[in-house]
């Protein structure tokens, strides 16, 4: 079990809650891809929420809709924070903030580190608007937090898999996102490494209390990591609650 998120007192409950209502239809393609419809209405509090589902259940599609890479046909994506409500998407009011303006951190499964840039340049990529000294300072801090300080001048193909995951996280977190989406970025790692990285992530989030959606298709992993779990199946929320719901619905797979 990873260290528990800070207790959900009334105060930090209000800190960064993600409210989602997303509808998206994919018609069957001529090449045999079957049609698919995503219809999800769900909230995620500050801290880590596990988004669990088998492959093809719509997990990544949901993350794409939250980040703005895909545009849902209907629904709302809203972040409720201390400072008030931020609407990222609202089909009725025709609000659709572009991915670059959403301040949603998204770490892909393949990490998408820029292969031609050093770790340093990768991590500073999202800080182009800041003066150089500030960029360097923030970069040094975050690389230290994720134990990657010594890698600054290497290229992504010169570091290990676990190090790449840490760098990818650091690159996203340095931009101070309001929501963090993790699409199985740690799936290739052994449990020990994975838990260490998640500890660092928890430490980072202690001061910030942003909602973190962690996607996994492994029931065992969902049980181990999760306090809060959203169980997705065929584009619908099958259940939401504590990790035990996994035992209930996916007992045969554990």
């Amino acid at each position: 079990m990873i260290p528990a998120s800070p207790p959900a007192t009334e105060k930090n409950k209000a800190l960064g809650r993600l409210d989602l209502r997303v509808k998206k239809q994919f018609t069957a393609a001529k090449n045999g891809t079957p049609g698919f419809s995503l219809d999800v209405s769900v909230s995620a509090e500050a801290g880590i929420t596990i988004l669990f589902g088998r492959s093809g259940s719509g997990k990544s599609t949901l993350l794409d809709c939250i980040s703005g890479l895909l545009q849902p046909e209907g629904g709302r994506v809203v972040l409720n924070a201390e400072t008030g409500e931020t609407v990222l998407f609202d089909s009725e009011k025709s609000i659709n903030v572009s991915p670059a303006q959403r301040a949603v951190g998204y770490v892909f499964q393949n990490l998408a580190l820029f292969p031609h840039l050093t770790v340093k340049a990768n991590v500073e990529y999202g800080l182009a608007h800041l003066p150089r000294e500030l960029r360097q300072q923030r970069r040094t801090e975050i690389l230290q937090l994720f134990h990657c300080g010594q890698l600054a001048d290497r290229k992504p193909d010169e570091i290990s898999g676990g190090e790449r995951q840490r760098v990818a996280l650091a690159r996203t977190l340095i931009t101070e996102p309001r929501i963090l989406l993790l699409d199985e970025p740690l799936s290739a790692l052994d449990v020990g490494t994975k838990l260490k990285i998640l500890e660092d992530l928890q430490a980072w989030n202690e001061k910030r209390h942003i909602p973190i959606l962690y996607v996994t298709h492994s029931p065992g992993e969902a049980m181990r990591l999760g306090e809060n779990v959203i169980y997705l199946e065929s584009g619908r929320v099958l259940a939401q609650g504590k990790a035990e719901i996994i035992r209930q619905y996916a007992a045969d797979e554990i």
């Binding site: 890479l69 991915p99 670059a100 303006q101 998204y106 998408a112 999202g126 182009a128 996203t172």
Partner: protein
């Protein structure tokens, strides 16, 4: 050695390559990423010089941009410019004629960049221009090099368009290929040989350099 023709040819090739890259970068980006349903029409238009004889292009160039043509008459009236049989006219015609050699490699390069990298750049707050300059272009450097060299080499070896549009004016439109043609017509084989050999060796050296560099793609810090 016909230095005047050689220098003119190089000047033409350099100018045309430069113009083609300036046009080719945005055009290639648009073709690679646009989802416009009629995009294929623009793609066909760009690729046309690959199938058409240069005489067709040259013919319509003269018809349109000649002093009697719709555009040409206007240009003459307003700016006093006559494009046919001038260096500027030669540049314009060559740009059109070599367009696919610049645009195609760029489209292939841009479209080959991992979409996740482009998405990641946007999610980190980068504008489209910044994503292009910091991610897409650096990862397409070998394709950019190919585009430059092919434009350059193709202009170097051009004959039909130059003959149609430029004619044969020493120092203005007489390129090496035209000079060689002239020499042969005049049965002056020694001069023809000199110029031809010069072009042959030069072309071989350039292409060899490109292929050598492409083989060491990592030299540019990115795989194609």
């Amino acid at each position: 050695m016909n230095w005047q023709a050689i220098i003119l040819t190089l000047r033409l090739a350099v100018t045309v390559s430069a113009v083609l890259i300036i046009i080719g970068l945005p055009l290639g980006y648009w073709i690679a990423f646009s989802r416009w349903r009629w995009k294929f029409l623009i793609e066909s238009l760009v690729a046309m010089p690959l199938v058409l004889p240069p005489t067709v292009l040259g013919f319509y160039f003269l018809l349109l941009l000649g002093r009697g043509g719709i555009v040409g008459a206007w240009l003459y009236r307003i700016f006093g410019v006559i494009l046919p049989f001038s260096f500027a006219g030669l540049v314009i015609a060559s740009v059109l004629y070599s367009m696919p050699f610049a645009v195609q490699p760029l489209v292939v390069g841009f479209a080959g960049v991992d979409r996740k990298l482009i998405a990641a750049s946007a999610l980190l707050g980068a504008s489209r221009l910044r994503t292009f300059l910091r991610v897409i272009l650096p990862l397409s450097l070998t394709h950019l090099l190919t585009a430059v060299v092919l434009s350059f080499a193709h202009t170097l070896g051009e004959f039909g368009v130059v003959l149609m549009v430029g004619g044969n004016i020493p120092g203005v439109t007489r390129t090496i290929s035209i000079a060689i043609y002239d020499n042969v017509q005049a049965l002056n084989y020694a001069s023809a040989n000199q110029n031809a050999l010069c072009l042959l060796i030069f072309s071989f050296v350039i292409l060899s350099v490109v292929y050598a560099l492409n083989r060491r793609a990592s030299f540019f810090g990115a795989a194609p």
